[in-house]
């Protein structure tokens, strides 16, 4: 758990203009960033507006992070940025409006200008590759770190003898293949091998099969 310190300042020489100033800080999920944003000024009137005017209170736009405090933050103020979710990006945008006698590109009919400060980076280790698919509403249907549970096959039959095998090309005991025998009263146990499912008859020992069990199998094969 670490706390990073980031300061972003807009140069006073551009106080007449709108400006976006950015910084990058990659962090881990338990880390925080101590962020200070400062608007450079040339005149007393500009500096006074940052201190006194209600329109100079910072406005935050956040993606995958929170800030504290989140209200009444002004130029020169410091907030703590805390990430929300791991293995994705975060972005903290701070907009501060200040007075300028003759702003360029400012709001029409006003003497105000804006400065935008952007802190962004990754939380945790971002993937190198993978596919993410969204639906028409922008919801993620498959994320780059998601595995889809997929159906491979179903085998039904009757085991002949004490053991047998079913051929399943590609299957391996690698934690991604799944099997389950759901046949009624089945005495068939199954195990994942390489390209096969091995079958064996459950051993009843000397008591024998007293319960009406059978050697039928109904094995669902799937992959995650």
């Amino acid at each position: 758990m670490a706390t990073y310190t980031v300061g972003i300042t807009s140069a006073s020489s551009v106080s007449q203009y709108p400006l976006t100033t950015s910084a990058t800080q990659d962090i881990q999920i338990n880390d925080t960033v101590s962020l200070t944003v400062t608007v450079g000024t040339n005149t007393t009137a500009q500096a006074t507006s940052l201190t006194n005017e209600t329109y100079s209170v910072a406005v935050f736009t956040l993606l995958n992070c929170t800030v504290s405090p989140s209200s009444n933050v002004r130029s020169g103020g410091t907030v703590t940025v805390t990430p929300v979710n791991n293995n994705t990006g975060y972005r903290c945008e701070v907009v501060i409006t200040h007075y300028h006698e003759n702003p360029v590109g400012g709001s029409a009919g006003t003497n105000r200008q804006t400065k935008t400060f952007v802190l962004s980076g990754s939380v945790g280790v971002l993937p190198v590759y993978g596919l993410e698919i969204f639906d028409a509403n922008g919801n993620s249907r498959l994320r780059y770190d998601n595995r889809l549970c997929k159906f491979n096959s179903v085998f039904t039959g009757t085991l002949s003898g004490q053991s047998g095998t079913l051929s399943v090309p590609g299957i391996a005991s690698d934690g991604t293949w799944g099997i389950s025998n759901q046949a009624q009263n089945s005495l068939v146990k199954c195990f994942i091998g390489t390209n096969v499912i091995a079958l064996s008859q459950a051993n009843f020992g000397s008591a024998g099969n007293l319960y009406g069990g059978n050697l039928n199998y109904e094995i669902i094969v799937f992959r995650v």
Binding site: G130, D135, D145, N181, G213
Partner: protein
């Protein structure tokens, strides 16, 4: 991979492989789990089940009889994939299993629970899935991937089951006495959630618990000396695999078998018994 489309996650797991098929959600709903039992003689006037069907109306937790839910026409027990999860975290013990009918095409399933687990009015959310090529939503947008045989490998117009982990085995139980509560040495899982903060959204594949009547075949065990041996009833009425949700701060799901507690109505088996067939569970989230 001779055909299709392959995408892997960053850590090398296949997302879409062009060979296997995507599940489609056929039906979903909410139900109170119940014990297996159907005839009117098994129930009191309130619908509580006399368990184990021998006129006993008291005991651990007389539960309602499990509700039968129809499997959509055209599908049988071998075609469907049942997933379920507790609707809320109010339960201390959240164990569920399932019963399938043997009928093909006109079958049904039930969400069941052990006798000793009281669900009260708490419910379980279920989703019944199958394989077909129908879309869930408008197909004018998104991505579809087909296998070489024309099966739907993936569609962004479907609700997906994002599987995380799988485990399989033959759950056993060490019945050193008829009041034993030992799990036995083989518990399938536990499978831990990748996203603990979303624990209420996790479903578990229930087919691995599949039963077709109020008993399951087991192997091993021996007669308890003080009880009359009855090969038709010894223990097997009482031995069934269930999945248990642990929704603590370290949430997980595992599958193991119930035990019989009552001397009068319980197992006649001693020592360890094993389920006679292999079962598997998968956990994940529908999105």
């Amino acid at each position: 991979m001779p055909y299709g489309f392959l995408s892997n996650t960053d850590n090398g797991y296949a997302q879409i492989d062009g060979e296997n098929l995507q599940l489609k959600v056929l039906a979903s709903g909410t139900v109170v789990p119940g014990v297996i039992g159907g005839s009117s003689s098994d129930k009191d006037s309130a619908g509580n089940v006399y368990y184990p069907f021998t006129g006993r109306s008291s005991g651990w937790n007389p539960n309602k009889a499990a509700v039968s839910i129809a499997i959509p026409s055209g599908y049988g027990t071998k075609d469907v994939f049942l997933f379920a999860k507790p609707s809320n975290s109010n339960q201390t013990t959240k164990m569920i299993g399932c019963l399938f009918s043997t009928s093909q095409g006109t079958g049904y399933f039930q969400i069941t629970c052990p006798e000793w687990v009281s669900w009260g009015s708490n419910t379980v959310d279920y989703k019944l899935c199958a394989i077909n090529s129908d879309e869930d939503e408008n197909t004018s947008y998104g991505l579809r991937v087909f296998t070489a045989s024309g099966g739907l490998g993936f569609s962004s117009n479907r609700t997906n089951f994002k599987g995380e982990q799988f485990a399989y085995g033959t759950p056993n139980r060490t019945m050193t006495s008829t009041t034993s509560t030992n799990y036995g040495s083989t518990v399938v899982g536990p499978l831990y959630f990748d996203k603990p903060n979303e624990k209420a959204d996790y479903y578990c594949f229930l087919n691995g618990c599949a039963a077709y009547s109020a008993w399951q075949l087991v192997t091993g065990g021996s007669q308890q000396s003080s009880f009359t041996f009855n090969q038709n009833t010894r223990g097997i009425y009482w031995y069934q695999p269930y999945v248990e949700f642990n929704l603590s701060s370290t949430p997980s799901v595992k599958m193991y078998s119930t035990y019989s507690k009552s001397l009068a109505y319980g197992s006649y088996l001693g020592n360890a018994v094993d389920l006679a067939s292999t079962r598997g569970i998968v956990i994940g989230i529908f999105v």
